[in-house]
């Protein structure tokens, strides 16, 4: 056992002025692929990192009010499920797989997508929607989660992530 002369205090680096910034691009609309962005974003926020989540293409579903509660997971074409691919398109398979996945996620205390977004906002995270994707789907601010800060275009996004670490999902 070593005895320390000074009190051993964890370094939380509060006084270190960090300009660390993380931007996560969420481009997928399946239930399984909604989580990596949310979990990493939440973890970054918990470490005091300024975090921006940018939802584009299918990822827009995660922040669209009419769809965010109905994201699905399907084994079709997904060999990572280790199922015989011929069985995956059978009626009911997608519903079952989605249900199973939701159960597994909930068993670990991880929230569903809408609640998770609330937590990320509460932790100071910034949510942005992609202008092109919104236009393609004829969506406006009213269709999106109230916590979304704005619908921005590609240039505005590039300006926003100046100096940021980027993660594409």
């Amino acid at each position: 056992m070593t005895t320390t002369q000074d009190v051993l205090i964890p370094k939380f680096d509060d006084d270190v002025e960090t300009d660390r910034k993380l931007a996560i691009i969420c481009s997928k609309g399946n239930l399984d692929m909604a989580y990596p962005g949310l979990i990493l974003g939440n973890a970054a926020l918990g470490e005091g990192v300024e975090t921006h989540l940018f939802f584009t293409f299918w990822g827009l579903d995660m922040i669209t009010k009419s769809r965010m509660n109905d994201l699905k997971f399907t084994p079709v074409g997904n060999t990572a499920t280790h199922m015989p691919m011929g069985l995956t398109p059978l009626p009911g398979m997608t519903g079952m797989a989605t249900h199973q996945m939701k159960k597994s996620i909930a068993a670990l205390g991880v929230p569903e997508v809408p609640d998770f977004l609330e937590q990320i906002i509460g932790a100071g995270g910034h949510l942005w929607a992609c202008r092109l994707s919104a236009d393609m789907n004829h969506l406006t601010d009213a269709d999106l989660h109230d916590g979304v800060e704005g619908i921005i275009n590609a240039s505005e996004f590039i300006e926003l992530v100046n100096g940021a670490q980027l993660l594409f999902i």
Partner: protein, 104 residues
């Protein structure tokens, strides 16, 4: 295992400074720990700390920020106000508990 001296007694800590023995903590020590990281404890802070201690006893592991919100009743936003920037780690430190292992 390093041993550090706080509040006049020897406390076992890990290499980072977090307490390793659940029973070596008491509320007096919490005040010292909070001061170490420049936090003034208010009733709101105590609510979180007492919840974390009790929850650790029943669950065997440190509650995550989500659990502090859903079971402890303290919203995430408030946790970030009470324990700025790195709430999970700071709350655990002051409560004399290990850093939470869970992801959310």
């Amino acid at each position: 295992m390093p041993v550090t001296t706080m509040n006049g007694r020897a406390i076992q800590v890990n290499d980072e400074g977090f307490l390793t023995e659940y029973d070596e903590w008491d509320e007096d020590l919490a005040k010292v720990l909070a001061q170490n990281i420049d936090i003034d404890l208010t009733d709101a802070h105590w609510k979180v700390i007492r919840f974390l201690r009790e929850d650790y006893r029943t669950q065997g592991e440190t509650a995550t920020t989500r659990r502090v919100q859903t079971v402890g009743g303290v919203p995430t936003k408030e946790q970030f106000t009470l324990f700025p920037k790195k709430p999970a780690k700071k709350m655990a430190y002051i409560a004399g508990l290990p850093k939470p292992h869970g992801c959310v």
